[in-house]
């Protein structure tokens, strides 16, 4: 399951996930944190618990680390997974220099302005749509994220997703696994190119 493009695991990494309410943004974070826990890493998952007010975007921050985690907050995340344009506008500035931005290129129609960050654009909606339903877009994205960053192994992501969606049965599991792998494959292709 490892591949040539996978980076070596880093000691501590913070990832922000952001998008519209319906895009499964919090689930991505939860999956990453669960995978980290299953790999016996230290993890924290912090949702933005909103402004006690409706509307707007959802986001969460996940830290995966080999050591106890001090602050679960990420003013300067290592990676940002941005599922729509407002998320890009809001979070681009904070990404750590040298960090990575994962863009849902199906919905983000502007390009990041910064030149000191890596940008990975993935048409996750299209890919998921091709697999059967755009609802799997977040799974495509998490596959891509993990493949690119090596935060956790793809295997444990698939495992975590399986256990999280346990009740939904094997069909859903199959779909999710497919989506995750497609996301990973897309990144491989990118870096291969």
């Amino acid at each position: 399951m490892t591949s040539k493009t996978q980076k070596t695991t880093i000691a501590k990494a913070k990832t922000i996930f952001s998008g519209f309410g319906g895009q499964g943004v919090l689930m991505m974070g939860y999956v990453l944190a669960t995978s980290g826990m299953n790999e016996n890493k230290h993890v924290t998952y912090l949702p933005s618990y909103g402004a006690e007010v409706r509307g707007g975007t959802a986001n969460c921050t996940v830290t995966v680390s080999d050591e106890p985690i001090a602050s679960p907050v990420a003013s300067f995340p290592d990676s940002a997974v941005l599922m729509n344009t407002p998320s890009l506008i809001r979070f681009e500035g904070g990404v750590k220099s040298g960090g990575t931005v994962f863009l849902n290129s199906d919905l983000v129609d502007v390009r990041p302005k910064r030149r000191d960050i890596e940008v990975v654009s993935i048409p996750v909606n299209s890919i998921a749509g091709r697999l059967g339903s755009t609802r799997g877009a977040n799974m495509v994205m998490i596959g891509a994220l993990v493949q690119q960053t090596g935060l956790v192994s793809l295997k444990s992501v698939i495992q975590s997703v399986k256990s999280i969606f346990q009740k939904k049965g094997s069909k859903v599991h199959k779909m999710n696994t497919l989506a995750i792998k497609e996301g990973a494959a897309f990144v491989d292709a990118l870096s291969g190119s």
């Binding site: 006690e52 007010v53 409706r54 509307g55 707007g56």
Partner: protein, 250 residues
């Protein structure tokens, strides 16, 4: 020439509502603003917004506004109105706000006959805090604190506050309406207007309870939310005028 026949009321600022798609709060805001326009009282109206999804109502209403702690809107409004009887003071409150934590303040403001207009938005849940049971939640309805449906033995019964306020000696006008269709929306507007007029005529306390859709927490589409009100909610909370003694030379 094309003539514009429907536009934004003056008493609303040019801000985009933060409410969810299809939320009744948005409609009720507009109606209230239209009434304020039509009565020509914008420059002497003070609004008291609630804690609740409408906590930011002051971003929308183009009138002076003073915040109240959760449930205390009618006490705060009483203070404003008694100190400045020339102002027109209205509260805007959710069902949790007015009928749970604020029960005492509500009943006593009404019973004192305070010259106030209360807009009571009954959406059957605590919208702002994420959809917990409200006093008005229907029996069997699932919320985040009644995940197996509201069970009277544990969770009590739906509370009919307006009916109780009808008993209050100081209330002059109490009506229940909804905002599920153009027709009901227009009725609601009329009721709100009357509730302001009661105050302008110094008659006593007036309240309009509005059954309002919360598609987000009901986990229904906007259209189905309206249907739910029309078909189910009204059975527990029948629409109509509950009390009107404006004719009686109160």
């Amino acid at each position: 020439m094309a003539k514009q026949i429907f536009k934004r009321p003056e008493a609303l600022k040019d801000a985009i509502f933060h409410y969810c798609p299809g939320c009744g709060h948005s409609i009720i805001h507009r109606l209230t603003a239209e009434v304020i326009d039509e009565l020509g009282i914008r420059e002497r109206t003070v609004g008291v917004p609630p804690a609740g999804c409408a906590v930011l109502a002051y971003n929308y209403f183009d009138v002076d506004m003073g915040e109240a702690p959760h449930g205390r809107a009618l006490a705060v409004a009483t203070g404003i109105k008694r100190a400045r009887p020339d102002l027109i003071v209205f509260t805007y409150q959710g069902d949790g706000d007015i009928a749970a934590i604020g029960t005492a303040e509500t009943i006593h403001a009404a019973n004192r006959g305070e010259r106030l207009t209360a807009i009571f938005v009954n959406n059957g849940v605590y919208g702002m805090t994420g959809g917990q049971m409200a006093p008005t939640t229907l029996i069997g309805q699932t919320t985040t604190t009644t995940q197996r449906g509201r069970a009277p033995l544990r969770d009590g019964y739906p509370l009919d506050l307006s009916q109780m306020l009808g008993v209050a000696a100081g209330s002059v006008y109490v009506a229940r309406t909804s905002v599920t269709s153009p027709k009901s929306i227009l009725k609601t507007k009329k009721a709100i207007k009357k509730a302001f007029q009661v105050q302008m005529n110094d008659l006593g306390f007036a309240l309009v309870e509005i059954l309002s859709q919360c598609p987000t927490n009901w986990k229904l589409s906007s259209v189905d939310s309206c249907k739910r009100i029309e078909e189910e909610v009204v059975k527990s909370y029948p629409l109509g005028v509950i009390k009107d003694t404006t004719g009686k030379g109160h």
